[in-house]
Subunit: 239 residues, 2 copies
């Protein structure tokens, strides 16, 4: 075996180990999204507490990914496509860490919301939105592993559905607030929750855009990958 | 001059060029924060429009920083501390890009808010909060250039002031909403604006934490650097 082949396969082994960490992070983040939404719908403080505590494991994995990537860069000095892959992996782990933060934030709000008058239908709507985003996240990571630009593009398209779900919820919460000022505090928390889930969708989209770039060498259309595009969601709000 | 010294100085020159880009990004981001807040207070749609358009320049700089860093990694293959510095620079530019996004988001909301009934005192309060965060951002970048852990720690501490300003504003907006449902839409926008400024403060804090790590090799206390810690700001909100 040539020295060169040896170096290449060391890089591959290292990268595979890092990718396994990413998949583990992804699994934890997906579970956190679903559990956080479930805790809200069932007003289950114990489950919310579990999600809140669980975020530390995702954070620790991100740190480990960063360390392993730095080690790989220093030791294997990958070039061109390999270098790009390592930098992409670091971005993906940062996306997943943020998703974990949002799930934790959602779970913390559950603990506040159980003290307040429930808002009709909110729990179910939030759960459906969370389920959609969880599916996007799962597929974006599958697309990464398979370098499947088509699946990644599909995730990108689904982000529009999430934006629509968010806009519909925003209008509903506004109506509840206008009807009865006693709903205002709960609705503001719910609104933040919906916004946080929408942002998780942005992170899944960002991962997908990075996959498309890795697979095709081109950025999709006019979007740039980033940790969550910020739209003025309320621009078309009533009044 | 030895071959080794030559390599070292090439790295230094490359890094300096990248750091100049970072400083340029920082200058644009600081101006965007202040201009966005000014556009809100003066209900100046033209200035808001300028901030919105200006974000593209910050995005382009981030892309350039990423490319230059990848090139530096591939070409100079920096080790240990130098490698860590390059990875930190990439994180800082990502923090600055996010700050630019938040400023743009703030400016876009200005265009919506000018259509609505003004909320007493909100513009001034937002401007003061923005000014505080702009100072934090400036100092975090100075701390980076000087590798000044003390200044970075000072920025970290000031983040608590921003959190307090945010909490005070949150309560005020809630009161306005409860008093008159016609204030609800404007207050929700203002609330998002306050939240976005608080998040910009988190990004300045994240930069400072990375500086502390670079300068001392240790992470400050129990905080980890990340793109914006998410707190449940509304947990102690009045019912």
């Amino acid at each position: 075996m040539s020295e060169n082949a040896h170096i290449v396969s060391s890089y591959d082994r290292d990268l595979e180990a890092i990718q396994a960490l990413i998949m583990k992070m992804g699994g934890l983040a997906e579970a956190a999204i679903l559990d956080a939404a479930k805790s809200l719908e069932r007003r289950d403080e114990e489950l919310a507490e579990k999600v809140t505590r669980g975020d530390a494991a995702i954070d620790a994995l991100e740190e480990q990914v960063n360390e392993e990537c730095a080690r790989l860069l220093a030791l294997r000095q990958p070039q061109a496509g390999d270098l790009r892959t390592v930098l992409t992996v670091m971005k993906i782990s940062s996306n997943l860490e943020r998703v974990g933060d949002y799930a934790k934030n959602l779970a913390k709000r559950t603990s506040v919301l159980v003290q307040l008058q429930p808002i009709d239908g909110a729990g179910g709507a939030i759960r459906r939105m969370a389920k959609t985003v969880e599916g996007m996240l799962k597929d974006s990571l599958d697309a990464y592993i398979q370098r499947d630009a088509e699946l990644a593009e599909d995730v990108r398209q689904r982000d529009h559905d999430v934006d629509q779900m968010y806009n519909a919820l925003f209008r509903e919460f506004l109506t509840f607030m206008m009807e009865d000022p006693r709903n205002i505090t709960a609705c503001m928390h719910l609104h933040f929750i919906a916004k946080n889930i929408e942002r998780m969708g942005d992170h899944a989209t960002s991962i997908s855009e990075q996959v498309i770039y890795l697979a095709t060498g081109e950025m999709p259309e006019d979007d740039r990958p980033r940790g969550g595009r910020l739209s003025v969601d309320m621009a078309e709000a009533p009044e």
